[in-house]
């Protein structure tokens, strides 16, 4: 069964047409990288998948749930989708472990002891076993983003969404976050990643999607997309980020 299916999805912010007739299918276990210039609608696209954004027209089915219907159980849907933000958005008043266990305890209703064990395990998985009791303010950007990834993973999600996860990081911290993401991709979790990290795309993405002005302009295998883009707009974009 297809994990994520967009059918002619359209979205407006007031008069601004930010998503134009989006058609896209993501299969279970697939890793999709979405790139494009800023303002192209790529963040909005993945924010639709867990309904952080509403859309006005079209159909979107995520893990069998039709998001265009009224009265769907959004809490249930979101519990199964991890979301990693550009700015981390960790809960500053909680420790790393509490950040990770909050949703498992209160949404999944897992017993606190079990959730704590699971939380420690998940933090160890992102290489932060020694930081469980640290508060976000005591962690570097890269560590914070890894806690944020662990927070999503602890819910044992079917899909992980990443919205420019390395854009707010100092260059020397990007690697540690990408390493964790590469690991996840190899574990076979369905991932949609908005990023300009071409190395990551080349290494693990099954497909690269290029967006511009709210449209899905081009989609292809990473090697083919980067070496031989089919559209001018994609070619221009690639030359810009490569020379950058």
């Amino acid at each position: 069964m297809t994990m994520i299916k967009f059918e002619d999805v359209n979205k407006w912010f007031g008069k601004l047409h930010v998503l134009k007739n989006i058609n896209l299918q993501v299969e279970p276990g697939e890793v999709v990288v979405i790139c494009g210039p800023s303002g192209s609608g790529k963040s909005t696209l993945i924010r639709c998948i867990n309904r952080l954004e509403k859309f006005q027209k079209g159909k979107l089915i995520v893990d069998g749930t039709p998001l265009h219907d009224h009265g769907i159980n959004l809490t249930k849907l979101r519990a199964d989708i991890g979301f990693v933000f550009q700015q981390f958005h960790l809960y500053p008043h909680m420790t790393a472990l509490q950040n990770v266990t909050l949703a498992p305890i209160n949404v999944r209703k897992i017993k606190k002891k079990e959730a704590t064990r699971l939380g420690r395990e998940t933090l160890a998985r992102v290489g932060l076993a020694d930081k469980v009791d640290s508060h976000p303010a005591q962690l570097s950007g890269g560590q914070q983003q890894r806690v944020a990834i662990a927070r999503g993973l602890a819910m044992n999600p079917k899909i992980m969404l990443f919205d420019e996860p390395t854009s707010a990081l100092d260059p020397e911290m990007i690697g540690e976050v990408l390493d964790v993401m590469v690991q996840l991709a190899k574990e076979g979790i369905t991932m949609c990643v908005v990023t300009h990290e071409m190395g990551f795309a080349r290494q693990v993405a099954h497909r690269v999607i290029f967006m511009d002005e709210g449209q899905l302009v081009e989609t292809g295998k990473p090697d083919q997309f980067f070496k031989n883009p089919q559209t001018d707009r994609a070619a221009q974009f690639i030359s810009k980020i490569l020379t950058h």
Binding site: N50, L52, T75, K76, L77, R78, A79, D80, I81, G82, F83, F85, Q87, H89, L90, Y91, P92, H93, L102, A103, N106, V107, A137, A148, R151, G152, M155
Partner: protein, 222 residues
């Protein structure tokens, strides 16, 4: 003569303590209800739903824009005309609750709005219900902003409670009025009243100041 009055004043000091106690009870009950309703209203007021925020805005506007003494008169003298008869004590507690809730509502709404939008998004994305989001993520962070002005507001409301003396609740200020009839040393009598108010307010002022300092320190650390 001064010495004589001072001695009389000491003799009836227990009467002052009774008044002080009544002030504590009226203010204590009033502030408790005001806090509960102030938080509920403040949380609703911080939402984006116009249907929810608009009526609360009108309530806050009316209460903040009219003198407390007029509000008390309306509750005590005018509501009975519509068949709602209240004794002086419950009327005083009700009036203080309504007044306090309006101010606390604004403080709470301000504190909640000051929490980064990303916190709501992160909590939403992880599947927490709106109540869980408020309880675990938003309100604990908003409390840092809310607490200092909230405690400050408590001090103001305790002092405002003196106004309920106009409907005959025998609290501290009323005791002053009644005493000054027998001991015509106004300065002496009302100095004592003032000192007793200060005794309740002072600890709260200290708490408020130290909270504000702690806030400032935390901001520097972040």
């Amino acid at each position: 003569m001064m010495a004589f009055y001072l001695q009389r004043l000491l003799e009836i000091f227990p009467f002052f303590l009774k008044g002080l106690w009544m002030t504590v009870v009226v203010a204590g009950l009033g502030l408790s209800f005001a806090t509960i309703f102030g938080f509920l209203l403040g949380i609703m007021r911080s939402s984006k739903k116009k249907l929810l925020t608009w009526p609360i805005g009108v309530y806050v506007f009316v209460i903040r824009g009219t003198p407390f003494v007029v509000q008390i008169f309306i509750i005590f003298f005018i509501l009975p005309e519509w068949g709602i008869q209240l004794d002086a004590f419950p009327a005083a507690v009700l009036a203080l609750s309504i007044l306090g809730a309006a101010f606390i509502c604004e403080i709470v709404a301000g504190g909640i709005k000051a929490v980064d939008q990303g916190q709501w998004e992160a909590a939403t994305a992880s599947g927490l219900s709106i109540f869980q989001q408020l309880r675990f993520v938003i309100v604990p962070q908003a409390m840092q902003t809310i607490l200092p002005p909230l405690v400050g507001q408590y001090v103001l409301l305790i002092k405002d409670s003196s106004v309920v003396s106009v409907i005959g609740v025998v609290e501290l200020t009323r005791v002053g009025w009644m005493t000054v009839v027998r001991i015509p040393e106004g300065l002496m009598v009302f100095s004592l009243v003032g000192i007793l108010y200060f005794v309740i307010s002072y600890p709260l002022i200290r708490v408020s100041n130290s909270l504000e300092r702690r806030m400032a320190v935390q901001e520097v650390r972040l």
